[in-house]
C-alpha cells in the first residue's frame, strides 16, 4: 500500500491487436488511478476499450494477437507488467479478482458451485479441503444465497441468473481481494436483480474496504455507485472526473451527448437528442479527435479534424472544477491549446 492511498495506478497504457487487416489500437494512452476503498467506473460504448483495459490489469490479453505495447500498471506500487507469469498468478484471482458479464458462461457447468469456489480458495491459500468448503459455504451466505449449505452442492444450471452472479461474486471475494474488477456485472440481469447485486457489491466493499473497478455502459449505474469515472471513447479517455462534477457539468461533447440522448423516466419530449453517426471501429479510427465526425462543435474545425487532443488537466486556476478533472477536447473551457504551426 503506497502512502497516498492509491491502489491501482495506470500510466499511458497502450494495447494493440495485430490482425490480418491491420493493427487495431484498442487502448491508447489510458491513465487513471483507483484509490483504496473507492469505486472507479470506466464507462463507454462497445469497442471503446474499457474491457481491454480491465483485461490488461489482469494480464489476460491474448498474445498473439494482442499486446500491451506501452505503459505501466502499478498495483500496490509494483508494475504488474514486469512480473513473471508465475508471480502474476499469485496476484490474479487472489489480490485482484474479476467478475464477468455473463454468469452462465463464466461458471463451469460440470462442477458444483462449491467445487469451483473451493478450487479458487485452495489455489491461492493453504487451506485443508474441509476448511475450504466451510469458507465456500460462508461466502455463499455472505452474498445473500439462502440455504448455502445445500446450494454449495448444486450445479450452475440449477440456479437463476441473479444467483449465478452471486456465486461469481462469492468466488471472486473468497480470497479477499484488494481490487475487484467488475466487467458489466449486471448487464445480463433484470433491473430488480441488478439493484440487488449492486447493493451487495456496495455492502461487501464497506465491510472489506476493497476497491472496485466497475466497467459498464450504463451511466445510471455510474451516477449511483461510483466516486470517480473515466468516460472512454474509441480507445481513449475522453473525460476523467469525480462523478458529481461529470453529471452536473459534463465537459466533453461526447459525454454531453450521451447524457442528453438517454431516455429517462418522466421524459415527456417527442424526440430524443441523438449523437449522429456510429461508434468507429478500431481499424477505421478517424484522424484527429476520434469524436470529431460526430461532434457538433468539432465536425467543422480544422484542429479537431487533424490533431488529437490529449487528456489534460483543465487550467482555470482551481476555480469551478476540482483540480483532478481532465478532459480531451480542444473546446473544453480552460483546455490549454498550444499553438500548432501546422494550423
Amino acid at each position: 500500500m503506497s502512502d497516498n492511498g492509491i491502489l491501482l495506478d495506470i500510466k499511458g497504457l497502450c494495447v494493440s491487436f495485430f490482425t490480418e487487416d491491420g493493427i487495431a489500437r484498442a487502448v491508447q494512452d489510458v491513465s487513471f488511478s483507483v484509490k483504496k476503498g473507492e469505486t472507479f467506473a470506466l464507462v463507454g460504448e462497445s469497442g471503446c476499450g474499457k474491457s481491454v483495459t480491465a483485461l490488461s490489469v489482469m494480464r489476460l490479453i491474448a498474445d498473439p494477437p494482442g499486446k500491451i505495447v506501452a505503459g505501466e500498471i502499478n498495483f500496490d506500487s509494483r508494475n504488474l507488467l514486469e512480473l513473471s507469469d508465475q508471480r502474476i498468478r499469485a496476484v490474479r484471482g487472489n489480490r485482484i479478482a474479476m467478475i464477468f458479464q455473463e454468469p452462465m458462461t463464466s461458471l463451469n457447468p460440470v462442477y458444483t458451485v462449491g467445487e469451483q469456489i473451493v478450487e479458487a480458495i485452495r489455489l491461492h491459500q493453504k487451506k485443508e479441503e474441509a476448511e475450504a468448503w466451510d469458507i465456500a459455504t460462508e461466502m455463499l451466505r455472505k452474498v445473500g444465497i439462502s440455504d448455502p449449505a445445500q446450494r454449495v452442492n448444486e450445479y450452475p444450471h440449477q440456479m437463476s441468473g441473479g444467483m449465478r452472479q452471486r456465486v461469481m461474486i462469492a468466488m471472486a471475494i473468497s480470497c479477499k481481494p484488494e481490487l475487484l474488477i467488475a466487467d458489466e456485472p449486471t448487464t445480463a440481469l433484470d433491473v430488480t436483480i441488478q439493484a440487488q447485486i449492486l447493493d451487495l457489491l456496495d455492502q461487501l466493499q464497506e465491510q472489506s474496504r476493497m476497491s472496485i473497478l466497475l466497467i459498464t455502459h450504463n451511466l445510471g449505474i455510474v451516477a449511483e455507485r461510483a466516486e470517480n469515472v473515466a468516460v472512454m471513447y474509441a480507445s481513449r479517455i475522453a473525460e476523467l472526473s469525480d462523478c458529481k462534477s461529470l453529471f452536473d457539468n459534463p465537459l466533453h461533447p461526447y459525454t454531453q451527448g450521451l447524457l442528453q440522448s438517454l431516455p429517462r423516466l418522466g421524459f415527456t419530449g417527442k424526440r430524443l437528442y441523438t449523437i449522429p453517426g456510429t461508434v468507429p471501429e478500431p481499424l477505421r479510427f478517424p484522424a484527429g479527435c476520434k469524436f470529431h465526425p460526430r461532434c457538433p462543435i468539432g465536425c467543422n474545425d480544422k484542429r479537431c479534424q487533424t490533431v488529437e487532443p490529449q487528456l489534460r488537466r483543465l487550467d482555470n486556476g482551481g476555480g469551478a472544477c476540482p483540480s483532478d478533472r481532465r478532459v480531451a477536447c480542444w473546446f473544453a473551457p480552460g483546455y490549454e491549446r498550444p499553438d500548432d504551426p501546422k494550423l
Binding site: 433491473v191 440487488q196 450504463n218 455507485r225 423516466l265 449523437i275
Partner: protein, 348 residues
C-alpha cells in the same frame, strides 16, 4: 406522445382487461387480445407424461388502437415475448381470442393466416442473429415482398430502394452484406424488412436493448418518425421502462404471465400504483438523482413459474402482502376515477 390517441376519444371504449365473450372486434381497435392463455406442458419421465403446465401467459387482455404504441414491459420470463408469439400464432395458444383488423387470428385457416401475417411484422432484438449473413441487404429486405406480394424484378428493387432510404441507409447498402454494417445500421435493415410490406401492426421485440447507448436514441426516434409517416401501430416489448415510456402511448406492466398494471405512459410514471411497478421504477439506476441509490429494494427473485405461489404471484416479494394476497389473485380492474388506469392489486 402520439396525437392519434385524442382522435379516438370519441369512440366507445370497451372495458379493457375484462374477459369478453363477444367474438367481433370492438370498433376503434386494430388489435384486441382477450383472456389469452398460453401454457407449455411440462413433461417428465419415460412416458413423457404431462406433469404440469408453465403458465407463460395467463389471461392477458389488451387492446391497441390504430397508429398508437402499446408497450409491454416486464422482466425476463414474465411472458411478454410469449404474448407476441401467441398473437402471430407462432406457438400453440391454450385459449383466448386474438382479433386483428376484425379477423380472429386463432380461428383462421392456414392460407388465411398467411395473409393475416403479411399485415403484422416483427422487429427483433438481436441485429446480428436475425439477418441471414449469406444474403445481401437487398435480398433480405426484398424477401417478404417476393413471398407475400409476388413482386419481382425492377419493381422489387424500387420498393427496396425506397424503404432503405426511409430508414436512413445509404443507397449502395442494397448490394452489401449484413456483416459490413454496424449494430445500429443492422437494426435499420431489420426495420426496413419489417416495413417493406406496409404492415398495419409492427411488433417490436426489444428493438434497442442490444444497441449502444448513443445508437438507441437514433433508433427510437426513427421508429417514431416512421410511425407518423406510415400511421403504424406498434406493439412494443421491452424490459426498459424508460424506453417504453418514451415510445408508447399506453404501457402495460407484466409479471408472471399477467398484466398487473396498465395506464397511459404519463399516468403510469406520475401515478404508479402496483408495488411491482413502483419497485421496477425505483430499481432503474438514475443519472438525475444525486446521492445514494434508493433503499426501496425488492427482496427475492421471481418465483418459479412452474410453482407459482397461491394468491397474488407477487406476494413473496411484496412489502404490503397480507391476508387476501396469499389466497386470491387480484383481477385487473380500472382504478376508481380513471377507467384507463388498470390495476391488479388488493391494496389500492
Amino acid at each position: 406522445m402520439n396525437s392519434s390517441i385524442s382522435n379516438n376519444n370519441g369512440l366507445p371504449r370497451p372495458p379493457l382487461g375484462v374477459p369478453n365473450g363477444s367474438s367481433e372486434a370492438k370498433p376503434g381497435f386494430l388489435l384486441k387480445v382477450d383472456d389469452l392463455k398460453t401454457y407449455f406442458p411440462v413433461k417428465k419421465g419415460l412416458l413423457r407424461r404431462t406433469v404440469g403446465y408453465i403458465k407463460a401467459v395467463d389471461g392477458v387482455s389488451l387492446a391497441v388502437k390504430p397508429a398508437t404504441s402499446f408497450g409491454l414491459v416486464g422482466e425476463s420470463g414474465c411472458g411478454k415475448t410469449t404474448v407476441a408469439r401467441s398473437i402471430l400464432r407462432l406457438i400453440p395458444v391454450t385459449s383466448g381470442k386474438v382479433i386483428f383488423d376484425n379477423t380472429d387470428i386463432l380461428a383462421a385457416d392456414v392460407t388465411h393466416l398467411r395473409s393475416i401475417r403479411s399485415g403484422i411484422t416483427l422487429i427483433f432484438q438481436d441485429p446480428f442473429g436475425s439477418l441471414n449473413p449469406r444474403m445481401t441487404v437487398g435480398n433480405i429486405v426484398g424477401e417478404p415482398l417476393k413471398v407475400h406480394k409476388k413482386i419481382t424484378g425492377p419493381d422489387l428493387t424500387e420498393h427496396v430502394r425506397l424503404i432503405l432510404s426511409k430508414v436512413g441507409l445509404p443507397a449502395d447498402a442494397m448490394n452489401r452484406y449484413p456483416h459490413e454494417f454496424s449494430g445500429g445500421q443492422r437494426q435499420r435493415i431489420g426495420i426496413a424488412r419489417a416495413l417493406v410490406l406496409q404492415p398495419k401492426l409492427v411488433i417490436c421485440d426489444e428493438p434497442v436493448s442490444a444497441l449502444d447507448v448513443s445508437i438507441q436514441s437514433q433508433i427510437l426516434n426513427l421508429l417514431k418518425d416512421l410511425q407518423q409517416e406510415f400511421s403504424l401501430t406498434y406493439l412494443f416489448i421491452a424490459h426498459d421502462l424508460a424506453v417504453v415510456q418514451f415510445s408508447c402511448d399506453t404501457v402495460a406492466v407484466m409479471y408472471m404471465g399477467r398484466i398487473v398494471e396498465q395506464a397511459s405512459a404519463g399516468e403510469l410514471y406520475n401515478n404508479p400504483l402496483h408495488p411491482y411497478t413502483v419497485a421496477l421504477m425505483a430499481a432503474i439506476p438514475k443519472i438525475n438523482v444525486s446521492g445514494q441509490a434508493s433503499s426501496r429494494r425488492l427482496k427475492g427473485e421471481i418465483p418459479s413459474i412452474l410453482n407459482p405461489p397461491p394468491g397474488c404471484p407477487f406476494n413473496p416479494r411484496c412489502p404490503f402482502a397480507d391476508g387476501r394476497c396469499f389466497t386470491q389473485n387480484p383481477p385487473l380492474v380500472p382504478v376508481s376515477g380513471n377507467d384507463e388506469h388498470l390495476l391488479a392489486c388488493w391494496h389500492i
